[in-house]
Amino acid sequence: MLNYIIRRLSLLIPVLIGVSFIAFSLMHIIPGDAAQSILGDAATESQIELLREELGLNDPYLVQYGSYLSDIIRGDLGTSLKSKESVLTELKNRLPATIELALFAILVAIIIGLIVGVISAVKKNSWIDQISMTGALFGLSFPVFWIGLMALWLFSVKLNLLPSSGRISEDVNLHIITNFYILDSVITGNFSALKDTIKHLLMPGLILSATPLAIIARMTKSSMLEVLKQDYIKTAHAKGLQNKYIIFRHALKNALLPVVTVIGIQFGFLLGGTVITETIFSWPGVGRYVYLSVLGRDYPVVQSVILIIATLFVLVNLITDILYKYINPKIKYN
């Protein structure tokens, strides 16, 4: 097992080098100039040239790539062309917000998705099944920007139930340690901050969870149905085992394999796909930040974020694969 993990981790390096090279090249191929973007409309040509020189944008691009790689190895993710802050700092400020949102969304999606999927499979064609699968279809079909704005209007303006933006209310004091607000409020024992943080997470989190939830639910249901058809399930029934025991001890465990794969992929997507949700709910995360950096041709930021997300994605898939080893079908007959 350990060998397997080490082997997988060492494969990480060529993958990341490849990813970084592609990311770097793409950013430099597309038209548009970072210096011009930073300086804005009122800049004169000489100003733009001066800045290009300062930022090293006139060096041959392999040279730029080379210096970028050597910086990364030393742990220097570069400096934002726009804000002159280190990319590490900018990301430190924003990544926890996105991860917290994505984690919340995937947890909701997993828990509810699994429950709904199992029930729909076991009670196939019942009204629960019909409603759940229709709901799943809606969750998949409605675009986030529409649901988001509708929810915002309904729950914030009309019903005044939930806050419309941000991670925490103006009048709540929270001592920030990790920048994961839920963690920080638990660590500092700040119950009102915890409540407030969850309130802020609810809308964006639930809306973000809609698509993965639907996918997990459907996957769980179809996988369960496959498993329930198997002979060993009939055998278990014939042996007189309790239904609930069969469903959870045998069926679900075996059905989880494809579902875990899907969960891994969905979490990866979530990490990279929070832009719209973050924009609508003014969530100060990394999704929107990267989107703006691409528009503004802030190369160091975009390159580093692509690398980080690629790393996270590979790690998530590694964890998924390790989980397989534990879920691997080992049917026990009592």
């Binding site: 804005g40 800049a43 939930l162 709540v172 003014s282």
Partner: protein
């Protein structure tokens, strides 16, 4: 592992539901009190302030965060907007206009050829950190801006270059504690006016020394608001400066909040979270007008939107063709696409300036005459590209539809338009490269000279019509060095007449960007160029 598994799932979902219910139950967390939150160093300690629930807070919502609160190192409007509250320049813009009034300087004068400027400074001013303001501080700031290329705005206004970072400001010296003299290497009648720009706000030298590289998030100025805290991508909080020499704010705190999406921002205004918001979606104008608790506030149009014609193109180099294109386009009709916020443009500068030439009229709308001019010039039909950008700009809120409308109109005279649309940076690259036949373009500036220098001067990269007129360049140069207001206006009027006669563009619109606010907002007069101080308003 069996029943435990299930009960685990059940208890987790119950917990989830419980948290949802309890959270919903307590309703919306509206802010009525203030506090000191962390700055963007997440390892900072938080100062506990007393929750006096009766502090008056004004919250302004905008689409993007400041990049830096030190205005001298940036050039974007969002950074300037926030910094403007914290800093003063030697002069400031008068309310609602681009005229200047005393700021940190009480009076100023220039010698006859506008090469030596003398400013008398206010004597009772303190920086937010308690240090007194005097001539030495002005000198420090100017020397700082001339010390490196990172002070881009100083560089672009005062023509700095790698070999001469000082630009045209040869020397800054103190005549006495409260009098500063600037010696310029060339005449510049606009010098005083340039100093109103937010980038030239005066910082406290002691604060710059103290914070070093972190000064951009710990700004110390002399303005009506004192910096308190900055949560990146979320909000900037400032408190009123009781010792301000001008109008002390009538409320306690000012918050600049980031709400990136225009629709979400509007929702926040409607739900009471914001008092004023920037960049209202024109589609939402109706909703604001029909809502008794809200009002529309428009910025005076300090911009011009137009379609440039690339005069290097064979057909477009002929004046008759350019005139024909103008005649074929019904600009009055196009105004319908500007949702009531656009006025037909006639000149390269907007009518808010005194120098605007009222005597000039538009080219007219006459499709028959257009066809005839084209045929006479030898063109039965013509194929042209029209470059445009996909996202709305202040001077062109609906670029795609406007382009399509023009495509229709020009189709009537057998000019076939191919619309080439891309994101703004790509579009900018293309048009500065001269890839276009026709292109949308626009500009905003506090002074007529800006419009001419950027859009029509020989050799400017933004002169995408490739318009060349030594006469106009000469007139603008004279205007920039002419201290007599009347004469300056005459120079600009003459320049506009020449531009009108040469027909490099199709003038489209001057647009008043809409903002929305709570009904209670009073005494707030937005400036044409995009940001103003908030100390005079009340709500």
């Amino acid at each position: 592992m069996n029943t435990n598994y299930k009960s685990l799932l059940v208890s987790i979902s119950l917990l989830l539901m419980l948290s949802v219910i309890s959270a919903c139950g307590s309703g919306n967390g509206n802010s009525s009190s203030s506090q000191n939150n962390n700055s963007d160093d997440s390892l900072n300690d938080i100062e506990q302030t007393d929750n006096s629930g009766d502090e008056k807070i004004f919250t302004f919502g905008r689409g993007a965060d400041s990049i830096s609160l030190d205005p001298s190192i940036v050039m974007d409007g969002d950074s300037f907007y926030a910094a403007l509250q914290i800093f003063d320049g030697l002069v400031n813009y008068k309310e609602g206009t681009t005229e200047i009034e005393p700021g940190l300087a009480t009076e100023w004068k220039a010698n006859d050829d506008a090469t030596i400027w003398t400013f008398k400074l206010r004597e009772d001013v303190q920086f937010h950190d308690g240090n007194t303001f005097d001539a030495e501080d002005v000198i420090y700031n100017f020397e700082r801006w001339a010390s490196s290329g990172e002070f881009a705005f100083y560089g672009s206004i005062f023509k700095a270059s790698e070999s001469n970072l000082k630009g045209i400001v040869d020397e800054v010296k103190a005549i006495n504690d409260y009098e500063v003299e600037f010696i310029l290497s060339e005449p510049n009648a606009m010098f005083a006016k340039s100093l109103a720009i937010t980038a030239f706000g005066i910082s406290s030298p002691q604060a710059i020394e103290k914070y070093g590289d972190d000064y951009f998030k710990n700004p110390v100025g002399t303005g009506p608001f004192i910096f308190e805290s900055w949560k990146t991508d979320d909000r900037i909080t400032m408190k009123k400066n009781e010792n301000y020499y001008g109008d002390v704010p009538k409320y306690d705190k000012l918050v600049f909040r980031v709400v990136p999406d225009n629709s979400s921002r509007f929702v926040e205004l409607q739900s009471g979270e914001l008092d004023l918001m920037d960049s209202l979606n024109p589609e939402d104008l109706d909703k604001v007008e029909s809502d008794d608790s809200l009002q529309v506030v428009t910025r005076p149009p300090g911009n011009v939107g137009y379609m440039a014609m690339n005069m290097k193109h064979e057909a477009l180099s002929k004046k008759e063709v350019r005139e024909a294109i103008n005649l074929a386009i019904d600009v009055d009709g196009l105004m319908a696409l500007f949702q009531g916020l656009g006025e037909k443009a006639i000149n390269p500068i907007p009518p808010i300036f005194d120098a605007f030439n009222d005597d000039i009229e538009d080219y007219g709308y006459d499709v028959e005459k257009a066809k005839k001019l084209l045929n006479d010039a030898g063109y039965e039909s013509l194929d042209l590209t029209l470059y445009t950008f996909s996202s709305p700009r202040i001077y062109m809120p609906q670029p795609k539809i406007t382009a399509q409308a023009i495509q229709e109109m020009l189709g009537q005279v057998d000019i076939n338009i191919e619309i080439i649309e891309s994101d703004f940076d790509t579009y900018k690259d293309s048009v500065q490269n001269g890839d276009h036949d026709l292109a949308f373009h626009g500009f905003a500036n506090a002074d007529p000279s800006g419009f001419f220098d950027f859009l029509l001067a020989k050799g400017s990269i933004d002169n995408i019509a490739y318009f060349e007129s030594d006469e106009v360049d000469e007139l603008v140069k004279k205007a920039k060095t002419e201290l007599d207001e009347e004469k300056r206006i005459d120079y600009y009027k003459e320049a506009q007449q020449i531009v009108h006669d040469e027909i490099p563009w199709v003038f489209i619109a001057n647009v008043s960007p809409p903002m929305a606010a709570k009904k209670e907002l009073i005494d707030y007069k937005p400036i044409p160029v995009g940001s103003e101080k908030f100390n005079k308003l009340d709500f």
